[in-house]
């Protein structure tokens, strides 16, 4: 890749300047947040049981959402990428809708569908006495709803990028379609799956609008970190800043860890192939 540099000449300023602007635009608010952080308060906040509750809840619900998203997202992405059926374009559009929906609207939509008196929620309530709003399960539902499109799109993209010829070869060698999916298709899309996983998790961890609208805001059961940040902002903006920084540090730490552990392996695995 380095050999291409001199042959192509210097990168044009017309591209470099806007790119630098983009970096500044993304970095400035984060730097300002860090500059505003009352760092001496950080240890005290980190041992505050209310904060620990919110942090624990956020980690549990976002990870649970990732499990849900992977369980149903991989099959859906495979369906979109590998099976030709009428209405596929329409289905893909449907998958993208939650992506453009304002999270608050997603919350209202979830209430209309799965709320206590919602379309399906009413049946759940009548039959099993299950009501999702105001429960931790409701938080996971909200997280999964907003994170699923990120994961499906990422995995579908990865599946499309890997040639279907490998699938065909495996099939001619006698592998069933399930075996092909398990032994050939999925491993080839590995890096895309991992990237989608991280994207979906990050989206779930930061999810606020749909959560507070659908699941509410109560310490211990539904007050996730973003909810806690918004609640703190009502009285003590400094506390909100500290909470934001904690959330930021946690997500950066996890993503760094994932890079170390998984990404490298996945990339090496792909290169070996």
């Amino acid at each position: 890749m380095t050999a291409r540099g001199p042959a192509l000449g210097r990168p044009p300023a017309l591209l470099l300047v806007p790119a630098a602007l983009a970096v500044a635009f993304l970095a400035l608010p984060l730097v300002a947040l860090l500059a505003r952080t009352p760092w001496p308060d950080l240890p005290a906040q980190l041992t505050d049981p209310a904060i620990l509750d919110a942090l624990r809840l956020s980690l549990v619900t976002s990870l649970a959402a990732v499990v849900v998203v992977v369980a149903v997202g991989i099959p859906l992405a495979w369906l979109l990428a590998r099976v030709d059926f009428p209405g596929r374009a329409l289905l893909r559009a449907l998958v993208i809708v939650p992506l453009v929906l304002p999270p608050v609207v997603a919350g209202v939509a979830l209430l209309s569908g799965l709320g206590r008196s919602g379309l399906v929620g009413r049946l759940l309530d009548d039959a099993f006495g299950i009501s999702l709003p105001f429960t931790t399960a409701g938080v996971v539902v909200a997280h999964s709803f907003v994170a699923l499109p990120f994961f499906v799109l990422s995995v579908e993209g990865a599946l499309r990028a890997t040639s279907q010829e490998y699938d065909v070869v495996a099939a001619t060698l006698g592998a069933s379609r399930w075996t092909v999916f398990r032994r050939v298709t999925l491993p080839l899309a590995g890096p895309g799956v991992l990237a989608g996983l991280v994207l979906a998790w990050a989206r779930a961890l930061g999810e606020f609008g749909a959560t507070i609208t659908f699941a509410g805001n109560y310490p211990g059961t539904t007050r996730t970190m973003p909810n806690a940040i918004y609640t703190a902002l009502q009285v003590d903006p400094d506390a909100a800043v500290v909470l934001s920084v904690i959330l930021l540090l946690v997500s950066v730490a996890v993503i760094a860890l994932l890079r170390e552990r998984w990404f490298d392996q996945a990339v090496q695995g792909a290169e070996r192939r």
Binding site: G115, S131, N217, Y218, L233
Partner: protein, 258 residues
Amino acid sequence: MRPRARASLAALAALLLLVAGCGSGSGQADNGAETGTLTVLAASSLTEVFTELKKQFEADHPGVTVKLAFDSSATLAEQVNQGAPADVLATADQRTMRSVADSDGTDGAPRTFATNRLAMVVPAGNPAHLTSFAGLDKPGVSYVVCVPTAPCGALARTQLRAHHITARPRSEEVDVKAVLSKVELDEADAGLVYVTDAVAASDRVKRIDIPSSKATLNTYPIAALSGAAKPGLARAWVDLVLSERGRQVLAAAGFGKP
């Protein structure tokens, strides 16, 4: 991306630019009276009253558009303190207004223009068959309140304590309209809101009065802001709210006199 998709994206972007360009016009009329946009920040419980008064004000002041922004009092006060461009602030309690006045954010001392008290609302169908405030303590009843740091949440906490209700709420919403919508949507069996919210939503929720709620009133202060771009209009808005006409609209919405 296919060409057609690219074209529709470009069209969308152009539309967004158009929309963003609108509504920013302002200026000074020839006769010296201020025209343009007056920005009023108000506690969410004032939504109906201020929307009504906006019509009156715009009729009285041709060439003026009133822009109303409703949110929790604490959020609005914080926005003003952070330098958000606004002309008038009306909050649902004294504490949040004081945080602005103390940093010289108000043009003169804030004036109290209304009072409000707590009420309980239940969904139109009253799924938990509640008839009194004390009913919240029945097992299995799910009710929601404002977060205790919001004025409506502080009132709720006081009343719950006074009535020895020990059942915990299912959720602490950040503002009173969120509590109301949880009840309207039938997700909660009851909610603690302001009397005025119960009046505003009287066709969708049933109101159950809380005995002794008159003993704990919230007072609403209003002030023109020192950073106002339209100081004359800002004062005129405050005067309208304090006027006889303002009182009528406030009383019709369920607010009490200061």
